[in-house]
């Protein structure tokens, strides 16, 4: 099939600033940005492992640094970001999965999201309880 370019030129609109034009895109960019928070926290934890390997003095130094007010503030921000991260990923998770049928009925997206949350909360509670037990 042939088609001429038309009597004039087709106009291509610029994409600059695209994500600011729609609240959906702003939320998407926020979701993507939380990956940075995950990376930062991974570095914090990795640093902890390195410090542990370097001996007791180093380890205690790292724990001391974690207790500083700036560190606490950073951890609060990181925690908030991780929660947004988890929320937005659990929302998109059903989109990554093929249709699941249980007893002839199709599994709803909301069920998958809730299962993700349920598992997260259960594991978090279990880990927290474990941490409490071992800290005695």
């Amino acid at each position: 099939m042939s088609r001429n370019a038309g009597a004039g030129r087709a106009y291509v609109r610029p994409m600059r600033g695209w994500w600011r034009r729609n609240p959906f895109f702003v939320r998407y960019m926020l979701r993507e940005a939380t990956a940075v928070a995950v990376a930062v926290y991974a570095i914090v934890l990795a640093t902890g492992v390195v410090r542990l390997a370097q001996g007791e003095a180093s380890w205690n130094g790292w724990l001391e640094a974690l207790r500083s007010p700036w560190s606490l503030l950073m951890h609060l921000v990181l925690l908030a970001a991780m929660i947004v991260h988890a929320k937005s990923w659990f929302e998109i998770m059903p989109k990554t999965m093929p249709m699941i049928f249980i007893g002839g009925r199709r599994l709803a997206a909301a069920t998958i999201t809730r299962t993700g949350w349920g598992a997260t909360i259960a594991v978090s509670v279990a880990l927290f309880a474990l941490a409490l037990v071992f800290s005695r």
């Binding site: 009597a7 030129r9 087709a10 106009y11 291509v12 959906f24 989109k95 990554t96 002839g104």
Partner: protein, 251 residues
């Protein structure tokens, strides 16, 4: 909702390449009624005020896919978008985002159609069957696996919603990948291996970053985001299986 509203203002992004180099906004006042659609408002302008206004439409019932455009910055079908939800106005109407504008509210559709043609969007029968043998058997459960993806009306709202497509028009895109998945998921089809090449390509599923807005705007609840993203697993599996078997992938 204002009871006294008898008119509403609509601002349309006009573009007449024979007259101007760049699009320009133009305002119109149209009569308002409770059940009027944006399409009816545009038809009123064209019929009574300005015959030069160009826009595509046909069925008026959200099944032909002609009338996609941006209404107040969101991709929508003009025949199914009602003025009562856009009060008090003005309503901003422009051509579908991420597509070159040919004229007023008319965008270039050809690239989309070519992509659609390129994915083998037809049944490649798994087993041959003569007409005399009657229909292939397919249970309601098997039909359910692909029916929603077969409901795409090719309106391209998902392309207007997809920033990755906007940034790289080479991306195969949500609608076409959903159609590809429709055939892969059809129990009668055996052409999956032939279509994997398109799935696996960088401009295939891997250009998608799961923004998810495409599924949000789809007027037929096709859920293209699901079609694309579940195929990332298939694509990865296909890639690794290639190391295990000489021909690689699944048939």
């Amino acid at each position: 909702m204002s009871e006294s509203a008898t008119t509403i203002r609509i601002d349309v992004l006009r573009y007449r390449p024979e007259q101007e180099d760049e699009p320009v906004w133009q305002s119109y006042i149209v009569p308002y009624a409770d059940d009027m659609s944006v399409l009816q408002a545009l038809q009123h302008v064209k019929d009574e005020q300005d015959g030069t206004l160009g826009f595509r439409w046909s069925c008026r019932m959200a099944i032909c896919g002609s009338c996609g455009m941006m209404v107040n910055g969101k991709p929508a079908l003009s025949c199914k978008t009602f003025l009562r939800d856009l009060q008090p106005g003005p309503v901003r109407i422009e051509a579908l985002a991420h597509f070159p504008i040919e004229r007023d509210l008319i965008v270039s559709v050809d690239p989309f159609v070519r992509k659609l043609e390129g994915i083998k969007p037809y049944l490649v029968p798994r087993k041959p069957r003569s007409l005399a043998d009657g229909e292939y058997l397919q249970t309601p459960a098997e039909l359910e696996r692909y029916e929603q993806f077969a409901s795409c009306i090719n309106c391209m709202l998902c392309y207007a919603a997809c920033p990755q497509y906007g940034l790289d028009p080479g991306f195969t895109g949500p609608g076409v990948l959903a159609l590809l998945h429709r055939y892969n998921a059809d129990s009668r089809d055996g052409g999956r291996a032939e279509r994997m090449q398109i799935v696996n390509a960088e401009e295939g599923v891997w250009a998608c970053t799961a923004v998810g807005y495409c599924s949000e705007v789809c007027p037929k609840h096709v859920d293209p985001a699901n079609a694309v993203n579940q195929n990332k697993v298939n694509s990865a599996t296909d890639y690794f299986l290639r190391f295990l078997s000489p021909r690689g992938g699944r048939t």
